[in-house]
């Protein structure tokens, strides 16, 4: 049939009309999906994704993660639901592992210094050349074989990378020193002294009824924040009655913000406050009677000197409040007292933590549900050895190492990217002393401040490219060995054998091989070491992964991201209650006195960047601080009324000066209503001298102006014991913050969004 023009138009028009009617009926919804953000026609996804389990390291407790990989590229990090520490949850820092892997400023191949040390001029060399240079330097040392000629500074690690490091350094009778920016030496000492424990415990927050926390910013950055937050969610709105959190601190932290009751204490007086609470509990008979007797040595310790009325002035907390909290703590069990952070970072830090953790004796919180849960020794012998041999350096230990450097005793210094030159107080003088060390080399993926001061850089894989294991810094109360596997091929693999990055452990093993040192590892690379570790666990035939043959077991531990045995808990034995100290030492501070208009400086770890470890990652730089919403810069938090008196407004650039660190640092003022009047707070993380486009030359480093005051007993750095003055420099700089990015919501006073009491709606 011939189609006339008119018939054609009628047919087409009718069809179009039909399509429009169909559309109106909602039929083409699928078609609209195609235009949704998920599936734009021009970039339709055809690939499939794989998720691999591995570990996110060092913040400071590892998290188990799964990584989405498409076509050989890592795309997304999420928590591993099986991993006992974080159970599917994860921090912003774990997410940013992707930007570590694909960071534009990664070191792409071995580099040797050209010109003066620290000038920043490098030439790329091949791996064979680089290893020959290291071997040559170490051969000079091994001829002499004196103690301490070789120093290796790494992050604290109980892992098979740690096993390799430990065996390597032992071959030289050298020093392996674990570097921890805001050290937990006092905390570990207290665990040993009070409870006989060699490692940090778990805190059973989810089963606690009353949580008393002193200085420990555990919801933000302290020890294992994701694990604690997981417990906190249940503590608040789990199946049990809602728990009560009382936070005692000398600054207003994120944990303070989440507390039911927030108590400000004078810096360094946390221990005195805890003793006073012990006095209330013991004198009112609310505590466990046996513990109450033992804690005073049967009356040998005079508790009355610490009665609330006697300490109210020194602590800055009213006697009524001390009594109230102590009574609530003792009568709302299970109760738990934790302490750390700034509370343990004074010249009397060990005393403070001793008094705080002693509270747990009185409420039966020692190795009990809702209290402290002890952690067992690592599951394998080699990990147990690595843990036993690991020396996490206190400031006193560092002082000794630095003295050896100054004296010219140290011939070779190695670091692993943990960056002590950035994080140790300038007053300790590591940077200056390093000029006396003939050879410094660094295994690092970024040109951090310490790596920038080295002679040779051996570029390291990032976490997502290498094999490894990890025993969490604070375990979950039972044995865990996390397994780390490469989820993608090394990013610079295409540069060939002589360039690109390598695992630090593999490099150390290769160097040992060239030197003819037998590390006794029964493997030629770290993958072999990890596989041997899995074989040891396979032979145990217990725990979360069991199989008939090793192949299946190996697949199992890699799929699940690790191995753990919930039955393998600490053998606590009998914990005897230790007697309290007879006296309460007062904290000492360095710097101008309060009468000269100075403030206590209480620095704190950045929520996202920690103590600077995340400064090269743009997501973490751009993550707003929870309280100020500030990003990308260093700010100083000051009480808003004090600021007004001193004519300091937000954005004013101020110079923060201590008696240390030269001219001090500059920071942008951020007055807010939560800061105590005699305290200023500065976040850590910025002020890098090197570190690539995102980190370098940004803000100031508060660590550089800290006094080198140490704890009287342990030699731990008293990083909250510095006093500073503040002066305006005359500049104004906008603080890059998210606050005011959007207009505030209008608040409706009739629409209450806070439930005042548990029964009020």
């Amino acid at each position: 049939m011939a189609l006339t023009r008119r018939q054609f138009l009628t047919t087409v028009g009718g069809g179009t009309l039909g399509a429009v009617i169909a559309a109106a009926c909602g039929i083409p919804e699928d078609e609209l999906f195609v235009q949704s953000p998920a599936e734009m026609p021009e970039d339709m996804v055809t690939g499939l994704d794989n998720w691999y389990a591995t570990l996110s390291h060092g913040f400071p407790t590892s998290e188990g993660v799964v990584v989405r990989v498409m076509e050989g590229r890592a795309k997304k990090v999420e928590g591993n639901v099986d991993y006992p520490i974080n159970r599917g949850r994860h921090s912003a820092r774990s997410e940013a592992m992707l930007q570590d892997l694909y960071n534009p400023d990664r070191i792409k191949g071995p580099m040797a210094r050209v010109g003066e040390r620290g000038d920043g001029n490098w030439e790329e060399i091949g791996w064979s050349d680089a290893i020959s240079r290291v071997v040559y330097q170490l051969e000079q040392v091994s001829a002499a074989r004196q103690n301490r000629e070789v120093v290796l500074a790494t992050g604290p690690m109980v892992s098979h990378a740690g096993v390799v490091v430990d065996k390597f350094i032992n071959a030289y009778r050298g020093t392996h020193i674990g570097y921890e920016p805001l050290e937990n030496t006092n905390l570990r000492t207290v665990m040993k002294n009070l409870f006989g424990q060699d490692r940090l415990p778990d805190f059973d927050i989810e089963n606690t009824n009353y949580l008393l926390s002193f200085g420990a910013d555990f919801l933000n950055t302290w020890i294992s924040p994701v694990r604690y937050m997981r417990g906190y969610g249940e503590f608040r709105q789990g199946d049990r009655e809602r728990g009560t959190l009382v936070h005692i601190d000398s600054r207003f932290s994120m944990t303070s913000a989440n507390a039911d009751e927030n108590v400000f204490v004078k810096p360094g007086r946390e221990g005195l406050l805890a003793l006073s609470m012990i006095q209330v509990i013991v004198s009112s008979g609310l505590g466990d009677p046996v513990a109450a007797r033992d804690i005073t040595g049967g009356g040998a310790v005079d508790l009355e000197q610490w009665a609330p009325e006697n300490v109210a002035e020194a602590t800055g907390v009213s006697a009524e409040k001390i009594k109230h909290i102590a009574e609530q703590f003792a009568t709302h069990r299970p109760a738990l007292a934790i302490g750390g952070g700034s509370a343990g970072a004074h010249t009397n830090g060990l005393f403070n933590l001793t008094a705080i953790y002693s509270l747990n004796y009185l409420v039966g919180a020692v190795n009990a549900p809702g209290g402290l849960i002890f952690n067992p020794a690592p599951a394998t012998d080699d990990l147990a050895d690595a843990e036993a041999n690991l020396k996490v350096g206190s400031a006193a230990d560092w002082r000794e190492v630095i003295r050896a450097m100054t004296d010219g005793d140290v011939k070779v210094l190695m670091t692993d990217g943990s960056d002590p030159m950035y994080g140790l107080p300038g007053a300790l003088g590591l940077r200056e002393a390093s000029y006396n060390v003939p050879f410094i080399f660094s295994f690092a993926s970024q040109l951090d401040d310490t790596t920038a001061m080295s002679d040779l850089v051996l570029p390291a894989h990032t976490s997502l490219e290498e094999w490894g294991t990890d025993v969490p810094a604070a375990g979950p109360g039972h044995q865990v060995v996390g397994f780390q596997q490469p989820v993608v091929r090394p990013f610079f693999e295409g540069r060939g054998e002589e360039l690109g990055t390598k695992s630090m452990s593999d490099t150390l093993m290769a160097i040992a091989g060239k030197l003819g040192i037998d590390l006794g590892l029964d493997a030629t690379d770290i993958k072999g070491v990890v596989e041997n570790a899995a074989r040891a666990l396979f032979n145990e035939n217990r725990g979360s992964v069991r199989a008939d043959d090793f192949r299946a077991f190996w697949a199992g531990v890699l799929q699940r991201g690790g191995w753990w045995d919930t039955d393998s808990v600490a053998n606590a034995g009998t914990v005897t209650t230790k007697q309290l100290p007879a006296n309460a030492p007062a904290p000492e501070f360095a710097g101008p006195a309060g009468s000269e208009g100075s403030f206590h400086l209480v620095p704190f770890s950045s929520t996202s960047m920690g103590e600077g470890q995340g400064a090269h990652l743009p997501w973490l730089q751009a993550t707003p601080d929870p309280l100020t919403s500030a990003t990308w810069q260093t700010w100083v938090e000051i009480n808003h009324k004090v600021a007004k008196l001193r004519d300091i407004r937000e954005g004013d650039v101020v110079r923060v000066v201590s008696a240390f660190g030269g001219d001090g640092i500059t920071a942008i003022a951020y007055p807010h209503p939560g800061v105590p009047t005699d305290v200023v707070s500065i976040p850590l993380g910025q002020g890098h001298k090197a570190g690539g486009r995102y980190a370098e030359g940004r803000g100031g480093n508060a660590l550089s102006i800290l006094a080198d005051r140490l704890d009287d007993e342990t030699g731990a750095l008293a990083w909250a014991a510095t006093r500073v003055t503040i002066e305006k420099v005359g500049d104004w700089k906008r603080l890059p913050k998210f606050e005011n990015n959007n207009p505030d919501f209008a608040r409706d006073e009739n629409q209450r969004i806070i439930k005042i009491t548990p029964t009020d709606s």
């Binding site: 998920a38 990090v77 249940e234 303070s256 707003p624 990308w632 810069q633 209503p673 409706d748």
Partner: protein
């Protein structure tokens, strides 16, 4: 009509303000890097943000946190003002943005009482190596385009497609279905799911807290009548009375 109405319950009593959700969202959704300049221009882009509110002052001071994202309103003020139908309501209760229709009038952002729509004032830029991380399921938006939280629609679509292929159904709480923010949240403050499925965790929570005795549920800016798909649960604070009274004199 679809069998789904996606919704979220946010328990403010669990939220600590840690920002894990914020970074998880940026990673999943190819949100441009918020550099220092963008913050200074007040043009930073965060599909989910944590609002912080001060109450009182030292020594009786409180800070409150509240995660805010697109509320996926049933009566969304952003939808009727779009001259090109770039923002519309789909049958699953989501407020959806079609990037290749958007012409950047910003009327929608102007009309959104929750301030959760973000405009690309600049062409997003990543250093070459960082582009390897970009999520292939999500379009990179260009300059002049409005964007906002999509409840990670790409995950909903992917799990739906996979279930169809495998002859299964998408289960409540499937981590491949949940938005990135919800999976990340360390305290479990964000519960996502199908409000039409009465057995889903989100529906049970919504029913209990919105209609149960002593429920803590409410909607953000409820008086606007936008009927959001996001339900907030009140913060519980036995000591709040004192601080708020003092704060208001």
């Amino acid at each position: 009509m679809a069998d789904e109405k996606w919704g979220m319950v946010i328990d403010v009593d669990r939220c600590t303000g840690c920002q894990a959700c914020v970074v998880a969202c940026q990673s999943e959704n190819n949100i441009p890097i918020n550099d220092e300049g963008l913050f200074n221009q007040q043009r930073a882009n965060q599909w989910i943000r944590i609002e912080r509110t001060w109450e009182g002052e030292y020594p009786d001071v409180k800070a409150r946190f509240m995660p805010v994202l697109c509320q996926h309103c049933d009566d969304a003020p952003c939808e009727p003002v779009c001259p090109v139908y770039a923002t519309y309501h789909n049958t699953e209760g989501m407020n959806v943005q079609i990037y290749n229709r958007c012409i950047g009038t910003r009327f929608c952002a102007n009309n959104c009482p929750y301030q959760v729509r973000f405009f690309n004032f600049w062409e997003p830029e990543w250093p070459e190596s960082l582009k390897n991380q970009l999520n292939p399921d999500v379009t990179v938006r260009s300059r002049g385009i409005m964007e906002k939280c999509s409840f990670c629609v790409q995950r909903i679509r992917r799990t739906g497609r996979n279930a169809k292929r495998d002859g299964t159904v998408v289960e409540d709480g499937d981590r491949a279905l949940n938005p990135a923010c919800s999976n990340a949240c360390p305290t479990g403050a964000l519960t996502f799911g199908n409000l039409k499925d009465e057995n889903s965790a989100v529906a049970k929570l919504a029913e209990k807290e919105m209609h149960g005795e002593n429920g803590r549920g409410y909607h953000l800016l409820e008086e606007m009548g936008t009927h959001p798909s996001v339900i907030y649960l009140k913060k519980v604070d036995p000591t709040a009375e004192k601080v708020t009274e003092e704060a208001h004199g």
